[in-house]
Chain length 337, copies 2
Amino acid sequence: MSTIKDVATKAGVSRSTVSRVLNNHPYVDEKKRKAVQDAIKELGYTPNSSAQRLRGTETKTIAVLVSRIVNPFFSAVVDAMDEVATMHSYRMILCNTRGRADQELHFLELLRTKQVDGVILASVVNEWETIYPYLQYGPIVLCNEYPRGLHGAPVITIDQKKAMTTITKHLLHKGYHSIAYCNVYDVNHLPEGVRSPLAEDRYEGFVQAMEMEGKVVHSSWRFSGHSVDDGRNILRTILGLTNRPDAIITGSDEIAAGIIAEAKIKNVRIPEDLAVVGFDNQPTATLLEPQLTTIHQPTFEMGKQTMEMLLALLANQVEQFEPVTFLEAPIQIRHST
Amino acid sequence: MSTIKDVATKAGVSRSTVSRVLNNHPYVDEKKRKAVQDAIKELGYTPNSSAQRLRGTETKTIAVLVSRIVNPFFSAVVDAMDEVATMHSYRMILCNTRGRADQELHFLELLRTKQVDGVILASVVNEWETIYPYLQYGPIVLCNEYPRGLHGAPVITIDQKKAMTTITKHLLHKGYHSIAYCNVYDVNHLPEGVRSPLAEDRYEGFVQAMEMEGKVVHSSWRFSGHSVDDGRNILRTILGLTNRPDAIITGSDEIAAGIIAEAKIKNVRIPEDLAVVGFDNQPTATLLEPQLTTIHQPTFEMGKQTMEMLLALLANQVEQFEPVTFLEAPIQIRHST
DNA sequence: CTGAAAGCGCTAACAT
DNA sequence: ATGTTAGCGCTTTCAG
């Protein structure tokens, strides 16, 4: 494996000159520059980035933390981020936290130890006061999820509460009035005492819309989950209830898909017997039968803007940023409501 | 940010002793060890891994290359790999190549520059002779896809040809005889002259089964694609044909889902007017209506065994490996055929 | 415009 | 059992 020394020898110059060519410094004789470039090509030389890092330059690497890459929402967001990062010749390392606080911290260490230039948190489980200190080592941008008390770092997300209020009202105005609610949690139950502000905000939007219309929120109609199987189970539970809801709002299209799939087996008609609302507008939403009414999350924009914000921060191009950016999240009314 | 020197000073020992404690060497006085550990804790010290790498020790990091993380097949495989890696306290960096040969090579450089200990290729676009030289820098394990002429590195996959033969025969025996075929390609068309052995093997299995039963393979019934939209387009194309097939075998559930969704719009009955076969058995397969007949890919096992193989190679626990491991890929007959 | 030299933080002989 | 020393490959003053 060739080093900068080999290139220097081959090109008949010093290591410094090679370094200058590498880093596009001005004031390098054209002939020497050419000689160096030829040597680099011939040797198939690539700078050892561990050495570059050690020397204190940037790593051109971003860490992206998600709780669960198999969630189509996350893979879509990550895909958009990757596109932007690649375009700016940044590399992206994907960290699957599985919703574990220790894993999250573990990956944040990458920033402290200068293995990455910046971090994107697409899901958060630790308290902000735990994460905040890492800001001194480099920029952090949040995407989608956010902790309470967030400050010092921007977040790109949607207005969760508003989205839920809108969809709840839609249901109410369509004549449904016994509405069940399924909260979303990811992978693991959150650690004792820690709650997801995102989920809380959504629920608050739901409750507010219900109360505004004088409707009661039944505690026995409150569920939680994140997977298709969770959805299936929820439908079965509902069927066991003496007092059944006529609609259910869920925290993800996956849960909704499970409910719909199980409903077919149990001969429950959607939306006549039970209206179903999803969240995310995943690719699956239009493939289901009936097609799913859901809230569209602008995954591409979300990933793109988040990565762009981080890169801008890295380039010191940001004087002052909006603490919160809300992207539009229109409701998609289809045939499940 | 504190360094090993700070720790040494604080603990009143030399840097070597700190290093020894860090790396669990024997022969360290218990008192000093304790002093060092205390100093580490007080200073909140973490070794700078760029320095460690430069020095040539392991990185505890694996690079995983996939062409398209939004493909549920890949995210499932990656998820399984991540689980195994985490369990062995390895970190995983995800490289989304988008089917680009230069990106693939770029990420392979991580191995050469000692930024990762090993590489997993879940998709391959470069020729094996291009990739082969990287083996000298560390182990490479292939998963799912494979280049022609592969040697020196193990691959965990399924018997593509056999899977296609089996499913084609199923269709034939069920009475379908005008079978269209949709090849799978990922993200980009492959570079000129480069073909996907995986896709070729699948097609070969299809053709062989057809010919064995004396059926003709129509060239106008050959399509290719990878997305839901590709599937939609294919259905439209088929409807424009004067001589229509009565069944279609596709290279992924996503394509199949697109065909089914579009069929509904066009009032084409599945499977009466057109039988549809997918590939992968993605979570969506059972959510579609009709539920999709497909080939089950053991994503979890595939990811798990691939990562385990790589870790075993890294631990020098492997004398000699099976060049090819075929995992079972049973056909899932549901209602679309 | 270019080279010599110092040093980033760490580990592994080599001495003791 | 522990310290001293020599680099790993690179960038960046500092002189020329």
